[in-house]
């Protein structure tokens, strides 16, 4: 009985009139948690009842505390008939379960009814008394913090980044149960809302357990999604990155609140054998034996679980038994290579195991060509396995064997983070993605969601092998998504293959930061661009050049990534949003035939999308994409592809070539003229864009004018042919700066369309910029004026002109018009930038296309924006370093001692002298250099561990001192809490943003995750203003409910806000509509920087000081 939940119902206001006779309401409240219900008295005849109830106390397990939502129902008392429900409030009490977050939930909550929307408000106070439970076999994971933010939260420091955690929970969808035929829509909606709330609680708890097991104390980049599979059920799944976080300014919080085993944690690294080849199993054994059974069916053998608990990605982990993960890929056995992630072995492995067809989905350039068919087969076979549940037999056994080792997931070296502490990211390989088409079947036993698990495991395995093919041992910026239409489901996963600094993964960031910074001093801001793969065994054809920044390492000509722009990257000019949009018609079909048709279309779609992206990137005169997100949506009779990314010009990468147009029939004079006309237009656009985005690469600026496009005879037709020879490419004289042009061959009307669509993209009006990453490269003087918004559009296609071209045009217009509308609406904020622009496409019906956009507009200071790029770079570097300082608790002691050896010692110069195509010797030298340096790194690293041990000890002794040191932050915190968020207005302002930060402000506290799911239904669509009126009101209500929850937690903003789902269905004939919305984010307290300065400049008063240390816990 480890928790007591206390609830007090204070008052209501603005209640609806429930009694027509008196125009009043006799309201009372039911408070329900688990199976216990309390009621308040009936407050007669009032629309503003004052219940002022006693404290209702629930004595519950912490497992329930995590799973169950608090359910508050407001009813109208009726003496003669049944009481009428006014509405409900669901409160997730999870934020009260960690010591650092909120201590009380208190405030006005909108009373929500799924049929009528918000009907008044209720004032509730909720508290939890949690008793520490030291039982290590418990099922709860109280105390693990969750963050949606995909970077290390601002007031924390990452001690260890453990790695990938995932889980999924399955249930029947109440909407499809037999009982749904006899119950009211309201009852059905409420059952669904409650179930999903319950499932996400359970999911979070299970993920928390995994984190505790990994000895972490937090999940960062937590992304939870629902798959509404219709008849076959409801899947709630989540992925995240387990971390051990350390709150800055409160050294006491080193350990997670109620995680007893974690006490040993700190010592483990010191005891472990530093020799990478002999894995020590010593200190970590006690933990390995803790096999929590997540579902009864899974029983782990000791061996398998012990290999599971090994944290992958570190130089010390032993390779996984070769037997694991193989059977998934009978068709491609070469994928089953061991998963040792040493850089050394990686290189070796990639040499030995790389067969050409691995390159398929993988490439920074994403020039998909030869091997696509392989993926296709894989997808097709995957589709077959989807229905394998029915086949039973050996395959099922195989699956069970697969799911048996739930912890095996940790062998996925994936990180959902998109921004990293400085020095974490060593090299970036490129985007890796995998999709598979599955046929949904009924989930027979919700306790064994093994098919779904297996599906994802399969895809993740694929991603991993792709990353490996790129010479990378990890995948960052990783995300997963699904698209479901009837019984077909496309599962997608994508990320960015990367080489990480291994020290971060096991060890504190402190040392590694410093070390890394020193290491990377030479190639400042370009290190991550350097290719991680072996240039002689390139997984795909690519042009390599020497880095334009350091001139020492090789870089690709174009870089695609799913992550945010690293803070220290050197960027020239500004960035811009680049989208590729595509529709493909598909015949209506059933089941297998449908799935096959979709699998056949997928590769073509991917290919087209990448071609478009590449063309548009070149048209903008840029050479890298960040935040790439490709969404493939499946509908009844079409497939849609939408890729969004932020294009930038990385100083380290070569100048992008132009786009060359080639006609097929050169004899025809008029045609030729037409082609040259088009060519001119394209060249003009490129030039204009370069001006617009201020892309003036400093040294080679004269070459822009000099040779934008190579001579016609030099054209090599890259596109739509695989005839490119890499020799030719590498021979290009780099100093001359001439790039191979991208050639568009307009041999048919299709291609003409493509060219036209390239040119129809209108740049945003002056004063506007847009990007889908956190911040706009090249702008850093944000003001605090922000406006988050959601915009939804649905168009109906006329069924007459359903050709691919018409469809493409419609879709393109839809997106372009939507953007234009946004620019118009937000014109008062100019100069401003739309950040984190997130487009989602869905196909709710045959002829309907729905596009949902969520973004934030931030105004910036124009005067400062005109700074030269140099100062911008300096600024960003400064910022990086201040960020770095923030992360450091014991900065100075370490600085002098920890002078690590160079990671890539001077031997690199050999590389430079060697010509790029001189062959094997150079490459071998490169690898051997790397190898030799490894030992150095290890030894220096051990020194650092020792150092850290000292400092930690010192730190714990000096606790009181550090508290004083950190007082300015605490003061800010304190001050903020004592003063209401907004004194003047009656309702405090709550900011919402999809970004992880608030411009001009400092986040002082994270209050917990907000994860809400709402259903709204109407049977009077016309009366509510039609579909637009209905959805407009609903979205506004969702915002209101999010804000109310944040305010009740004591917060004044939501960061990393995301609308994960907006499923809209209408039936105008019946005057009905239904909508489901799922949103999440992190509730935070922020203080404006200006305020903060004032506070910290004041001499701390005695009053303040005394309340600081205890302030976090008691108030």
């Amino acid at each position: 009985m480890p928790g007591k939940l206390k609830v007090k119902i204070v008052a209501g206001r603005h209640l609806p009139v429930m009694d027509r006779a008196s125009d009043l309401t006799d309201a009372f409240v039911e408070v329900k948690f688990g199976n216990t219900t309390f009621k308040t008295d009936v407050y007669l005849k009032s629309l503003n009842p004052q219940w002022n109830s006693e404290w209702f106390k629930f004595e519950v397990d912490d497992e329930d505390l995590q799973d169950e939502p608090l359910q508050i129902t407001v009813l109208d008392h009726d003496t003669y008939s049944a009481n009428d429900a006014i509405g409900k409030v669901y409160i997730d009490i999870d934020p009260l379960l960690y010591s650092e977050a909120a201590t009380v939930i208190s405030g006005w909550f909108p009373i929500y009814d799924t049929i009528h929307g918000i009907r008044g408000e209720i004032n509730v106070v909720v508290k939890v008394d949690l008793f520490n439970d030291l039982n290590r076999f418990r099922q709860s994971s109280c105390g693990v913090k969750f963050f949606c933010t995909t970077s290390i939260p601002k007031c924390y420091r990452a001690v260890i980044i453990h790695g990938f955690v995932e889980e999924l929970v399955v249930n029947e969808d109440p909407e499809y149960q037999w009982i749904d035929r006899i119950r009211t829509p309201r009852a059905s909606n409420e059952a669904r809302q409650r179930l999903i709330s319950l499932m996400s609680g359970e999911l979070q708890r299970k993920i928390g357990l995994k984190v505790l097991e990994m000895r972490g104390n937090a999940v960062v980049g937590y992304l939870q999604c629902f798959d509404l599979e219709g008849e076959s059920g409801l899947v709630v799944r989540a992925i995240g990155t387990a971390c051990t976080l350390d709150k800055l300014s409160s050294p006491a919080a080193f350990l997670p609140a109620c995680n007893s085993p974690s006490k040993d944690m700190k010592e483990i690294p010191f005891n472990e054998d530093p020799n990478p080849n002999t894995h020590s199993s010593g200190p970590s054994t006690p933990l390995k034996n803790q096999t929590y059974s997540f579902s009864p069916s899974k029983s782990y053998s000791r061996q398998s679980s012990s290999s599971d608990t090994d944290l992958s990605l570190t130089p010390k982990t032993a390779p996984y038994p070769q037997s694991q993960g193989i059977f998934l890929y009978p068709s491609s056995p070469s994928l089953s290579c061991g998963s040792l992630h040493l850089k050394k072995s990686c290189l070796l492995l990639s040499e030995s195991s790389l067969s050409p067809h691995h390159s398929s989905l993988v490439s920074p350039v994403l020039r998909k060509s030869v091997s696509f068919s392989d993926e296709l087969f894989l997808a097709a076979s995957g589709m077959g396995s989807g229905s394998a549940g029915k086949e039973g037999g050996p395959f099922k056994a195989l699956l069970r064997q697969q799911t048996q080792s739930a912890l095996e997931q940790r062998e996925f070296p994936f990180f959902t983070l998109t921004a990293f502490p400085p020095g974490f990211l060593v090299h970036v390989g490129g985007v890796v993605s995998a999709r598979s088409v599955k046929l949904l079947d009924r989930i027979h036993n919700p306790d064994e969601p093994e098919t779904r698990d297996a599906w994802w495991a399969e895809i993740r395995q694929e991603i991993k092998s792709h990353a490996k093919a790129l010479g990378c041992h990890a995948v960052v910026g990783y995300s997963e998504s699904t698209s479901i239409c009837e019984e077909v489901c496309i599962l997608s996963a994508s990320g960015t293959a990367a080489v990480l600094n291994p020290r971060f993964l096991q060890d504190g960031t402190v040392e590694s930061c410093l070390e890394q910074r020193l290491e990377e001093n030479l190639p400042a801001g370009c290190g991550f661009c350097h290719i991680p793969y072996d240039e002689l065994n390139m997984p795909f054809p690519a042009h390599l050049t020497y880095c334009y920044n350091c001139r020492k390492q090789k870089v690709p000509d174009v870089l695609f990534t799913t992550i945010d722009l690293p803070i220290d990257a050197t960027v020239i000019g500004k960035g811009c949003l680049i989208q590729a949009r595509l529709c493909r018609l598909k015949k209506k079909a059933q089941a297998e035939a449908n799935a096959t048709a979709i699998s056949n279309l997928l590769p073509f779609m991917e290919y087209e999308v990448h071609t478009q992206l590449m063309n548009k990137l070149k048209l903008k005169g840029m050479n890298a994409l960040f935040g790439l997100r490709i969404q493939i949506t499946v509908g009844e009779n079409m497939l849609m592809g939408l890729a969004s990314a932020t294009g930038v010009y990385l100083a380290a990468l070569p100048l992008p070539g132009g786009i060359q147009i080639a006609g097929k029939t050169p004899n025809d004079g008029s045609y030729e003229q037409h082609v040259s006309h088009m060519q001119k237009k394209i060249n003009d656009t490129i030039a204009k864009n370069k001006e617009l985005y201020e892309i003036n690469p400093p040294e080679i600026s004269e070459e822009i004018i000099g040779s934008p496009i190579p001579e016609p005879r030099q054209r090599s037709r890259l596109l739509r042919s695989q005839s490119e020879s890499s020799d030719e490419v590498t021979e290009l004289d780099l100093s001359h700066g001439k790039k191979d042009a991208f050639v568009l061959e307009i041999d048919d009307t299709d291609a003409m369309e493509d060219v036209h669509s390239l040119l129809t993209d209108v740049p945003p009006p002056s004063g506007f910029y847009s990007c889908n990453t956190e911040i706009m490269p090249g702008i850093n003087n944000w003001t605090s004026e922000i406006q988050m918004f959601t915009s939804v559009r649905v168009i109906r296609l006329s069924s007459l002109n359903l050709t691919n071209q018409a469809l493409n045009k419609n879709f393109n217009d839809l997106c372009e018009n939507l953007l234009k509308s946004l620019y118009f609406k937000l014109r008062s904020m100019i100069p401003c930038c739309l950040c984190h622009v997130n487009f989602t496409v869905s196909l709710p019906e045959d002829e309907l296309i729905q596009v949902t956009v969520t973004a934030v507009a931030i105004t910036f200071d124009k005067n400062q924006a005109l700074q030269t790029t140099k100062t911008q770079v300096e600024k960003s570097l400064q910022r990086a370093s201040t960020d770095n300082e923030e992360l450091l608790q014991f900065p100075l002691e370490l600085c002098s001692d920890s002078l690590p050896s160079h990671p890539f010692p001077p031997a690199k110069e050999h590389l430079e002298s060697a010509s790029s195509n001189s062959g094997i010797p150079a490459a071998q030298r490169a690898t051997s250099v790397d190898y030799s340096s490894f030992a150095d790194r290890c030894s220096s690293w051990i020194e650092l561990i020792k150092l850290k041990a000292q400092t930690i000890r010192r730190g714990s002794i000096k606790t009181t001192v550090t508290v004083e040191k950190a007082s300015p932050m605490n003061e800010g915190n304190f001050r903020n809490r004592s003063a209401p968020p907004c004194a003047n207005s009656t309702v405090g302002v709550v900011k919402m943003t999809p970004l992880s930060f608030i411009p001009g402000a400092k986040i002082t506290k994270y209050l917990g995750i907000i994860n809400m799911f709402f259903i709204r239904e109407t049977t009077s669509l016309r009366e509510e203003g039609g579909v637009s009126g209905f959805l407009h009101a609903f979205v506004a209500e969702v915002f209101a409910m999010v804000r109310a929850h944040v305010a009740a937690l004591g917060g004044n903003a939501v960061v990393s806000y995301i609308m994960k789902q907006c499923v809209f269905m209408e039936n105008p004939n019946k005057n009905q509509a239904q909508c489901l919305i799922n949103v999440s984010g992190d509730a935070v307290v922020f203080v404006h920087e200006s305020e903060l300065e004032v506070v910290s400049s004041q001499p701390p008063t005695a009053n303040c000081q005394s309340s600081c240390p205890g302030g976090d816990v008691t108030t």
């Binding site: 603005h14 918004f789 939804v792 559009r793 168009i795 946004l822 309702v987 637009s1028 009126g1029 407009h1032």
Partner: protein, 357 residues
């Protein structure tokens, strides 16, 4: 390709002042778009008509949803659905409750009933204000009237508290409520030259001096109803014109004091008895509800028009009225000095305001 659904929702509710004005003025979405196009916004922003249409629709929807809250402005402050900065909230309320001079002149003093509402069609045609806007303004009047009608305390304060209006607008509404409650006739042709401001000025003086609230601040309807007792007492003033000696004495006192100071002295001297009779008779008649309604008609007929036809300058009117009311204090036989001051003090202010072309 048609937009089935098209919405934009900001965390901070976007309010476009220009569109709000068009909405308040009762224009349909299409008319509003046309008006916006004419304002040259497309050229300024480079937007297309479709964008404008979508934007206008969005704003209209928002306003439509806000309208329910605007009916009870304190709700707008406490509601959680729309996050609107306080300054914007104030703007929304103030503009929503603002009214057109032309419209208010049409309904001022009329019963705010369904019957009047039916006449809004005619008012709309007459004034050129859209019917929708007329309805909003009428409903605003009625809503404010209903809320404060039977409320204790200062009328202006009550309005301000319940509708969060600016001081100025609250005073105007006080006048509208006062006129509607007492049904003063303002629509006669004779009164057409008067502006709403003139009436509002008079209303304020009357509320201050002639209502129940002027003597007792703890009564219901204190600022809305005239003090019945006071009106009854006004009959006592009749002696000023009925008693010939008193009238002559009064005249001589006024004439002595004003001789040489008035440009229209001779006209005044000639008209004194008529004017005095008029003013006192107006007072004596106020016991009847019907005559109360005709107060302004009577004042214009009995005082403003005669003076105007003799071309009295405003300053002479002021001097006359001052002297006329002050001289009564010197009439030894007259015992109702306080009553006279309460009546004449207000009336003097009103007449001076009403006296213009």
């Amino acid at each position: 390709m048609t937009n089935e659904l098209d919405i934009f929702v900001g965390n901070t509710t976007l309010i476009d002042e220009d569109v709000y004005r068009l909405w308040l003025d009762g224009y349909s979405v299409n008319d509003a778009v046309a008006l916006r196009v004419r304002s040259g916004i497309l050229e300024q922003t480079g937007a297309t008509a479709a964008v404008l249409q979508s934007d206008t629709m969005d704003h209209y929807r928002t306003f439509h949803m806000l309208e329910r809250l605007l009916h009870a402005p304190p709700k707008l402050l406490h509601q959680l659905i729309f996050q609107i900065p306080p300054s914007r909230q104030a703007l929304l309320i103030e503009r929503y409750y603002a009214f057109d001079e032309a419209f208010v002149r049409e309904v001022l003093g009329k019963k705010l009933s369904k019957g009047t509402k039916k006449d809004l069609d005619d008012i709309s045609t007459k004034t050129g204000i859209t019917l929708k806007s007329c309805r909003r303004q009428f409903d605003n009047f009625k809503r404010v009237f209903k809320v404060v009608e039977e409320m204790r305390g200062s009328l202006v304060d009550n309005i301000q508290q319940h509708f969060l209006l600016s001081d100025r607008l609250a005073r105007d509404y006080a006048a509208i409520v006062f006129f509607a409650n007492n049904r003063f006739e303002t629509g006669k042709k004779k009164l057409q030259y008067l502006s709403f401001g003139d009436f509002a000025f008079c209303a304020e003086l009357m509320i201050q001096n002639w209502t129940l609230g002027a003597v007792d601040s703890q009564v219901d309807d204190m600022d809305v109803d005239l003090d019945k007792e006071f009106l009854q007492d006004l009959k006592e003033l009749k002696v000023l014109v009925a008693d010939k000696d008193l009238l002559d004495l009064h005249k001589s006192l006024v004439c002595t004091a004003l001789r040489g100071k008035l440009g229209v002295f001779s006209e005044m001297e000639a008209n004194f008895k008529n004017l005095s009779r008029g003013l006192v008779n107006v007072a004596a008649k106020l016991t009847h509800n019907k005559d109360v309604r005709d107060l302004f008609v009577d004042l214009v007929e009995k005082f403003v028009e005669p003076c105007r036809s003799d071309h009295w300058p405003l300053n002479d009117v002021r001097l006359f009225l001052n002297q006329y009311s002050a001289s009564v204090h010197s009439l030894d036989g007259f015992r109702h000095q306080a009553l006279w001051d309460r009546y004449m003090g207000t009336l003097r202010g009103c007449l001076l305001r009403l006296y213009h072309d």
